[in-house]
């Protein structure tokens, strides 16, 4: 099901041979206690430069307390062409959500 090819990031990354500077995806943790969230991408010759460039590009206004940079080519994504089949299993399974259960409406702290 999973495929490393055809992801948007590597699509761009593989074709971008800027003197072989790879594409890096940047993730920023905006505050302690929160997850790193994808912020964007950049080109850099190595990991150290990628982290420095990510700081200059994505945290000029204290947007982050921590950065991750990941080679775009290392990201494995679900197959975009199989989105329906791959994700349909939860459909029709509303009972996985609290909202499904109506009889307890009005009961406090439930």
């Amino acid at each position: 099901m999973a495929t490393a090819a055809k992801t948007p990031v590597t699509e761009a990354g593989q074709s971008a041979n800027r003197g072989s500077w790879p594409l890096w995806e940047v993730f920023v943790r905006s505050a302690r206690g929160l997850s790193h969230v994808h912020a964007g991408s950049l080109h850099a010759p190595d990991a150290e430069m990628a982290v420095r460039n990510a700081r200059d590009l994505y945290t000029r206004r204290n947007e982050g307390v921590s950065l991750w940079v990941v080679p775009a080519s290392a990201i494995v994504a679900s197959d975009p062409d199989a989105k329906g089949a791959f994700f349909e299993s939860p459909q029709g399974k509303d009972y996985r959500h609290a909202m499904y259960y109506k009889k307890s409406e009005g009961v406090k702290h439930l």
Binding site: K6, T7, P8, V9, E11, A12, S15, A16, N17, R18, G19, S20, W21, L23, G40, S41, L42, H43, P45, D46, M49, D56, L57, R60, R61, A77, P80
Partner: protein, 328 residues
Amino acid sequence: MATQTDARELHAVPSEEDQAGQAYFDRIIAEDSRIEPSDWMPEAYRKTLVRQISQHAHSEIIGMQPEANFITRAPSLKRKAILMAKVQDEAGHGLYLYSAAETLGTPREELFDQLLTGRAKYSSIFNYPALTWADMGAIGWLVDGAAIVNQVPLCRASYGPYGRAMVRICKEESFHQRQGFEILLELANGTPAQKQMAQDAINRFYAPALMMFGPNDDASPNSQQSMRWNIKRFSNDELRQRFVGMIQEQVKVLGLTLPDDKIRFNEETGQWEHGELDWNEFYEVLKGRGPCNAQRMERRREAHENGAWVREAASAYAAKQAQKAQVA
């Protein structure tokens, strides 16, 4: 990517895959949802986006020049620091946009090349000279102001990576506009000569700023398609009129005037009206015959060439470190 595109264009009859893709694409657009890079999209949509996003990126990069020229001439250390931060932001905006354009399959090198060889365009506004310190104010207030009015609806553009880049850019632009307004406000409250300098800057930047929204609607055939694709949300004239309504009010706070005695609110249409713009000048500048086109391009090529050794050194260092790590 190029070979894929060519192959697709040769198909006289759309393949089954393309038909399914088109149906999916149409549904996403009809639902006002977002297209993401791995989705099927019509070639014309892809081309339009690459052109628009890369032109936008080039504009940010070329747009660094008029203000960078004033960093050494800023009237105080505070102003110098602010201007440097603003120019750094423009570089950042260019990079966000190049990244977004790249997700459509055009490599960064190719985009750079299009700019450096003059095949790609950038906003005509940056081909006007910045003559005085007051121009830093007029650029911030009018040029960045017009850019914001243009860009806020682009945050909802149907192409996901473009919209996300625009959200980030819009957050940062508001500082640019306010700092420009403040420069003009201080000059307007200064000596008569300073006030005149501010007025002169507004007089020169008013019409070129209005032209930033592009040709009149009846002369902008591509706009209709862009609006059907939910890339553009409002027409050029709608946005321009909205902008005129904003600045005619703001200029009163400055105690200055706009160089246009035709500005009035039309009660019937509910729109702001302004004087006729010199579209001849617009097309001349676009064709490369503006006051600063040659200078801007020369400076950009020079910067790119002068930076070559840095890029080469960084690549060489990375290669050497990678080799060392392999040996160890």
